[in-house]
Amino acid sequence: MTEAIVVENLTKVYGRPDSGVLAVDHINFEVRRGEVFGFLGPNGAGKTTTQRMLTTLLEPTEGRIVIFGHDLAREPYPVKRQMGLVPEESNVYTELTGWDNLMFTAQLYRVSGSERAKRARELLETFGLWEKRNVKVENFSKGMRRRLSIAMAIIHKPALLFLDEPTPGLDAQSARAIRDLIRQLNAEGTTIFLTTHQIEEANQLCDRVAIINHGRIAAIDTPERLKQAFRRVQSVEVALEPDGGVHGEALAALPGVTTPVKMGDKWRLYTEDPSALLPLVMDYAHAHDLRVVSLSTLGPSLEDVFLEITGQQVGTVRHETPEEKPRRQRMGSGR
């Protein structure tokens, strides 16, 4: 079996099924063994609910989850032994030391006595926490708590690691260290399920991403293929002098421009055909005696794809269509 996770028709209604709030709506996807799978979506899209169902914290209203060949509803125990969970909040015991936190988790996952201390030392050294091992966690910084939280999740060497928003709120150095660690864990064979709304992080780390919106999977593919599928959000970026912010209307009127967006001292002109637009931009600059400070074409970023799919704004223009309006509603209220 090459799949680590198989999700079929997974549905979650908070409250009673006939009158509750639909959070996840019949989603299907697979996560392959050894991949970093990104689960993207705006706030409230159903990311954390899905992850909580995958980690047994919530019971699905409908559907089936199979992890490493085990049906999660019937055989949670062997699955739980193979998974690690890093929730959005660093859920460490602040009254205990870093060492005690690791020992507690190792005992909970039945790591053998001889292995426990060795593994805890390895992890504390890897995460740069060895010197602070006997300090109570209440004195740790946010980044240190995050690192400890990840160390606790992997002390039993799980084959599958769930990470929920691992880097928000961290300084650049800590965030980078955690991203490097995710790569390292994946290189060692751990399958990673990464829930995030940080698109660039998903772009850098994930083999494949699923985008969830209003409780439904809107797209699943590799980041590059998703970008290719959304060629209409390519753009030409130009900086003109003198700028003065007066060129918006004129640039928007150029043939092929779908959306002009002012980005600092530059204009980003979204178009389906950047090569056709480039000479028009140059002509405009010459005609108005403007100096072209910089000019470049940009493929769609994963952020553009995300915004396009989730019906949010790319720059100033909404891309939501009537069919993509929120589908979530109370069950049994005319659905």
Partner: protein, 254 residues
């Protein structure tokens, strides 16, 4: 297969113990709780003995029943909502152990605390007031079973699906004080009207108090074996609502 089941059972027991030890370190070995544990028996004793003509042994029997009752559920009901708020409860729920194991660990820690405080109460009664214990083994069994039963009772309130410990305070306090008045603590069971005795039979504290009377004074009203059986059965029975409430919360997403 049998080895696998034994291994699983051994794992689950070890995990329950791990949860209990963790709770002791995180919540019970705190200065406030230690002070509470040492002072509670004194306050209890003086509350019920000042200006009353009461023999030391009688006071100790009452004191032991009250300390197990109040200390077994002193922190338990508030720990789970607090852990829910901090996110640490998810760590326990996601761990490879059954829900019953987790709840057993949570019950054990409250019971251990109550047993410890009861030991302090007994020492105070014996050393300071010269009380004697007629049946030490009955006393030990009563304290252990009573502590487990009352700790499991507290866990029912801890299982209310909330992240705010304050939401648990009111119902927990109301029930405990209510039981205190109907359980033959203020008025001995033998002096109660028949209707009041019938109501008292519904409270596990009645059986704990009667058992302490047997153990310390050799003067209980009910059969001590009945007292022990009811405390054991109520301890097991009180585990059922928390299991049901946790499963319901997981299903409905509370």
């Amino acid at each position: 297969m049998k080895d696998g089941r034994l291994q699983r059972l051994s794992d689950e027991l070890a995990q329950a113990w791990t949860v209990a030890v963790k709770d002791v370190k995180v919540y019970y070995l705190q200065p406030g709780m230690i002070m509470f544990g040492f002072l509670m028996p004194f306050f209890m004793f003086f509350s019920f003995s000042v200006r009353r003509e009461m023999a030391a042994a009688q006071g100790v029997a009452r004191l032991l029943a009250l300390t197990t009752f109040f200390t077994a559920a002193a922190a338990g009901p508030f720990i789970i909502p607090l852990e829910r708020r901090l996110g640490t409860y998810d760590r326990l729920l996601a761990a490879p152990m059954s829900l019953l194991t987790l709840l057993l660990g949570k019950t054990a820690v409250g019971a251990l605390f109550a047993i410890g405080v009861s030991a302090v109460s007994l020492l105070v009664g014996v050393a300071a007031f010269g009380a004697t214990v007629a049946r030490p083994w009955l006393l030990a069994a009563g304290v252990v079973l009573g502590s487990f039963s009352f700790s499991a009772l507290g866990l029912i309130f801890g299982s209310i699906p909330t992240r705010n410990p304050g939401d648990v305070q009111m119902p927990s306090t109301l029930l405990r004080w209510g039981l205190l008045f109907i359980s033959g603590v203020f008025i001995p069971l033998a002096e109660m009207a028949p209707a009041a005795q019938a109501v008292a039979c519904l409270s596990p504290l009645t059986y704990a108090q009667d058992l302490m009377n047997h153990a310390v004074l050799r003067a209980g009203l009910l059969n001590p074996w009945l007292d022990l059986a009811v405390l054991l059965a109520s301890g097991i029975l009180f585990m059922a609502p928390p299991v049901w409430m946790h499963r319901r919360a997981r299903r409905l997403g509370y």
